[in-house]
Each structure stands twice: as structure tokens, then as C-alpha cells.
């Protein structure tokens, strides 16, 4: 029985572990290998070239443009999402008429694939007949239709707004989970102590929600940093690479331009960044678990 207890759980874990290691581990090693070689556009490896691929990446102005846009994209989408989601979660956590319906509506964008959302918006934003133009013209806000996606600056802004829209449900969900775990008696005690609703938000909600806000930031950074479909479907990084972020640029290099060595190098760089964020996330989660374990003991 003793020996069984050691092996049985391992036997239960190993099959899944093998699949994950194979599907996730092999590509990482392959990318590392490829990034150090000269690669033909059909994928043949033609011998080691050291860090040439990386040098080429760093010498590429499009890489730096995409990187800059990735930072803007990630920071604005994450901050915008947080700023909208926290008040929404606080409202949805309170009791009011139609709360069930409100929750369903707010969560809707999550249910729909980013691809479909982006396709619909691409049509809605159509410069000639798009229904956004129709709406704004009906409201008298403008006289002429606007080509929303024809110019990079405007297209990128619109994509950021849609990025925020689709990130709200997930973030709100994290916050709702956090809010429901807040101790009700703290609020009652503070009411007895004479706190206003703003005081409660400032001195109870915000500090207690901090771990959830941290997790929401890290998870959103990871998701948004990696998000391809919105920009890909709406503008494919265009016009003239003007809305390219790293993932779209990477995808073009790999599957359009056949620059596999360079694409592998960018993949590895992104993998490193992702790993860094993931480690932060894991540290946050384990710290949270330790805290709650300590609370459980007390």
C-alpha cells in the first residue's frame, strides 16, 4: 500500500504530462534550434549562423515599430480594461433589479470567438456602408461616412477599444470572485464607525482587492500581449504595417515572407517575455495560496 501511494498518483499524471511536454516542449526546443541557423523559406536548416538571426531582428526597424506598438497596445488595453471592469464588478456585485440580465450581457463578448467579433466589427466599421457610420450619421454626429480602418492611427485606436471591450468580461469575473470573498462584517463594522461609501471603497474594498487586481493585471498582460485575431482579422497589421504588433509581425514573417530564422528569433524573444510574466503570475498565485493557507490555520 505504501509503495502504491507513491506510484499511483504519478501514473495518473504522467500521460497528460507527456502530451503537454511533447506539444509544448518540442516547439520550444525546435524554435531555439532554428533561431540559431540559416533557414530556407521552405524550412530547411542550412547550418549554424550563431546569433545572426537575432542581429537581423534587432536591426529591423519594423521589429522596433511593432514592439513599440505592442507596448502601447498592451498597456492601453490592460489599463482601460481595469478602469472599466472594477466599477462594473462593484455594480454587478450589488443587488439590483435585472442584475442577472446585466451579468449575462456584460459576459457576452467572452462567449464569442475573437475572430467572429473582429469579423463583425470589420463590417460594422466599413467605410462605405458600415452600420457604425449609419448610427453616427443618424444621430447627426457626422455628415460623411468615415473610413475607420483605412488609416493606421485611427484603425489602431479602434482596435484598442475593441481589445478593451473583449477583455472586460474576464476581468470583471476575476473581480466578482474577489468581491464575493470580501468579509461582509468589515463593511458593517465600518458603517458603525461612520464610513461613507467612498471611505469604504478607499479603505476596505481597494486594499482587500489588491491581490485580485494584481492577478488581473498579470493575466490580462499575458493575454493581450499574445492576442492576434482582432488585429489580424480587422487590418492584418496594415495598412503598410501601421497596426502591426509583435504577434502579427511574427505571423507574417513566418507564414507570408518565409523568413523562418528571423521568425524563430522573435518567437524566442516573445517566449522569454511571456515566461517572465508567467513567473510573476505563478509567484502571485503561490503567495495568495500561502496567505489563505496561513489564514486557514489561524
Amino acid at each position: 500500500m505504501k509503495s502504491l501511494n507513491g506510484f499511483k498518483p504519478l501514473a495518473m499524471i504522467v500521460p497528460g504530462l507527456l502530451l503537454a511536454m511533447f506539444i509544448i516542449g518540442y516547439p520550444v526546443l525546435d524554435l531555439a534550434n532554428t533561431s540559431l541557423q540559416e533557414v530556407s523559406r521552405f524550412g530547411q536548416l542550412r547550418g549554424f549562423t550563431g546569433l545572426d538571426n537575432f542581429a537581423e531582428v534587432f536591426a529591423d526597424p519594423l521589429f522596433w515599430d511593432s514592439l513599440e506598438r505592442t507596448v502601447i497596445w498592451t498597456v492601453t488595453v490592460v489599463l482601460g480594461t481595469l478602469a472599466i471592469s472594477l466599477p462594473i464588478a462593484i455594480i454587478l456585485n450589488d443587488d439590483f433589479y435585472g442584475r442577472g440580465l446585466a451579468r449575462v450581457i456584460i459576459m457576452l463578448p467572452w462567449a464569442i470567438s475573437l475572430t467572429m467579433t473582429a469579423v463583425v466589427w470589420r463590417w460594422a466599421l466599413n467605410g462605405r456602408a458600415g452600420l457604425l457610420n449609419a448610427t453616427l450619421m443618424d444621430m447627426g454626429l457626422m455628415a460623411e461616412p468615415i473610413e475607420w480602418l483605412a488609416e493606421a492611427q485611427l484603425a489602431f485606436t479602434v482596435e484598442i477599444l475593441i481589445g478593451i471591450l473583449v477583455s472586460i468580461p474576464f476581468t470583471t469575473t476575476i473581480f466578482l470572485g474577489g468581491l464575493s470573498s470580501l468579509p461582509q462584517d468589515s463593511y458593517e463594522a465600518s458603517m458603525v464607525d461612520g464610513a461613507t461609501r467612498w471611505d469604504q471603497f478607499r479603505h476596505i474594498t481597494l486594499p482587500l482587492m489588491k491581490p485580485f487586481i494584481n492577478i488581473a493585471i498579470v493575466l490580462n498582460v499575458i493575454y493581450v500581449f499574445n492576442s492576434l485575431p482582432i488585429i489580424w482579422v480587422m487590418t492584418e497589421g496594415g495598412p503598410a504595417n501601421g497596426t502591426d504588433i509583435l504577434v502579427t509581425y511574427l505571423y507574417k514573417l513566418a507564414f507570408r515572407f518565409g523568413q523562418l530564422g528571423k521568425a524563430s528569433a522573435i518567437s524566442l524573444i516573445m517566449f522569454g517575455v511571456l515566461l517572465l510574466f508567467t513567473i510573476i503570475y505563478v509567484a502571485l498565485v503561490t503567495r495568495g495560496e500561502k496567505d489563505s493557507a496561513a489564514k486557514g490555520d489561524a
Binding site: N5, G43, R103, S113, P145, G177, Y251
Partner: protein
């Protein structure tokens, strides 16, 4: 006025801009899907149209090969979910019931793979599938979806499994059940809801996935729905928007309904384990 009524009105007023923006694409989708083709591009653009053309859906089904893409999406989503669950259920059970060496490292590994996004590895994955001779084969998606989903399904399942008291199984052992019997008669019946919910979320993930499907599948016969619909839009001079929108309606609405119905379980699952 009743305080609750007043509060409700204020809240709805605050939520209304977002609600409008969320519902806007749905309205666009429906209004376009049932519109006659020659009323797509009118100037000035307008919401109204002369008649409901329900026939658009049937036309779209035939012209865009929708049935085949639907089947492909179902095939990939169902099989990848089944594979992920078959591998996840024992792993989640082991995590929630046993201590074993390396458990902490394994949990960290799960958390890390949960964050690993296919896009960063897409080139490596493509080369892997080339090496395996599985490009243009839906099973390549089954394997990769299952592998990338497993961290989520294991995490979700183990957080639910941990809420099933261990002493129920112990009571069954004392009542005379073997490990296997207690698993089948006591544990599994209680775990069915959790497994169903997890399966549905895994299914939706597969249903909605885009990047890998776009990369691995090259022939239009094997396109899944997101790629199929994307291919109706991308790089075409003439886009049949009423067909595209009819397709998105059919591809998204059923999933959206199921998701809305189940979202509270996802919130609970995350509160139980994934985030806390």
C-alpha cells in the same frame, strides 16, 4: 421611490453605454444577415432594409460550404475535449487526493502551461506537425488543443474535486467498497456536473480557436468555422457580407447561449481554485 428601484435605475444608467457597445455587433450581425444583397452597400448607410431575407441562411450554407466547416469544428472540439478530459480527470484526482513527490513542481508546471499561448509557439508547432506529417489534418488540431487546454481542465477539475469530501470515499471503503468501486459508485456520480461544465468550456475553447486552425489547415475542405468565415473576408475583392454575417450568427449564437447559461460555474470554478 423605493431605494432599490432608484439604485437599479442608476446602475442601469451607468451600465448602459457598455451594454449598447456590447449589443451593437449583435445587432449588426442580425440586421446584415437578413438583408437583401443589393441593400448592403447603399448611400447613405442605414439600418433599415426593405424585407427579411431568411433565404440568406440557406444560400450561405450552400455557397460557403458551411456544413463541412461546422462538421470540422465539431470534430475538432469534441475530440480535443474528450482527449483533454481523459488525461485530465486522473491527473486532477491525483492532485486533489494524494500527496506525491514533485506535486508542487507539477502545479507550477500547470500554471505555466496555462499561460503558454499557442501564438508564440506557432512556428514551432507548425514545424512539429510538418515533421509528423499532420499538416492539413484535423487531428493536429485535436492534439494541440488538448495539450493547451489540459492545464485549464486539470485546474478546474481539481478545484471542484477538492470540494467533494474525501471522507465519502473513506466511508465507502469502510462500508466494504474497493478503491475502484468507491470511485465508480461514490466519486464519479458526484463529479459529473464538474466534468460536464469543464468539458463545455474546453469545447468552447476549441470551437473559438483561430491561430492554430489558420496555420495547420491549408485546404478549404478542412477549415473550421472561424477560419472558414475569416476566409470569406480576407483578401477578397468582393465580400458577400450578408453571407458572412449569416455564418457568424449560426456559429456564435448557440455557443453564446450555452456560455451565458454556464458562466456562473466558470466564475465559481475560478473563485475556487484558478485565481484565488
Amino acid at each position: 421611490m423605493q431605494p432599490k428601484l432608484k439604485k437599479s435605475l442608476i446602475y442601469w444608467a451607468m451600465l448602459s453605454p457598455l451594454v449598447v457597445v456590447i449589443l451593437f455587433p449583435f445587432a449588426v450581425m442580425f440586421v446584415t444577415a437578413v438583408r437583401p444583397r443589393d441593400e448592403l452597400f447603399v448611400y447613405p448607410p442605414r439600418w433599415g432594409f426593405s424585407e427579411f431575407r431568411w433565404g440568406n441562411f440557406a444560400e450561405m450554407w450552400v455557397k460557403t460550404n458551411f456544413g463541412e466547416a461546422l462538421f470540422n469544428s465539431l470534430y475538432v472540439s469534441v475530440l480535443s475535449t474528450a482527449l483533454a478530459l481523459v488525461l485530465s480527470i486522473p491527473a486532477a484526482y491525483a492532485l486533489s487526493r494524494y500527496r506525491f513527490p514533485g506535486k508542487g513542481a507539477y502545479r507550477t508546471f500547470l500554471l505555466m502551461t496555462q499561460m503558454m499561448s499557442p501564438i508564440v509557439l506557432v512556428l514551432g508547432l507548425f514545424r512539429l506537425m510538418v515533421a509528423l506529417g499532420m499538416v492539413n489534418n484535423l487531428n493536429s488540431l485535436v492534439l494541440t488543443y488538448a495539450a493547451f487546454n489540459m492545464a485549464f481542465t486539470i485546474w478546474m477539475l481539481q478545484s471542484y474535486f477538492s470540494t467533494i469530501p474525501r471522507d465519502l470515499e473513506e466511508a465507502a471503503w469502510i462500508d466494504g467498497a474497493s478503491h475502484f468501486t468507491s470511485l465508480v459508485r461514490i466519486f464519479l456520480p458526484l463529479a459529473v456536473p464538474a466534468m460536464a461544465v469543464t468539458a463545455i468550456f474546453s469545447f468552447i475553447n476549441g470551437w473559438n480557436e483561430f491561430v492554430l486552425a489558420l496555420t495547420m489547415i491549408r485546404s478549404s475542405d478542412d477549415f473550421t468555422l472561424p477560419v472558414q468565415i475569416y476566409s470569406q473576408v480576407a483578401g477578397r475583392y468582393q465580400v458577400e457580407w450578408h453571407h458572412v454575417m449569416a455564418g457568424t450568427v449560426l456559429a456564435t449564437v448557440p455557443v453564446a447561449i450555452v456560455f451565458s447559461w454556464l458562466q456562473k460555474y466558470l466564475i465559481r470554478g475560478m473563485a475556487l481554485g484558478a485565481v484565488k
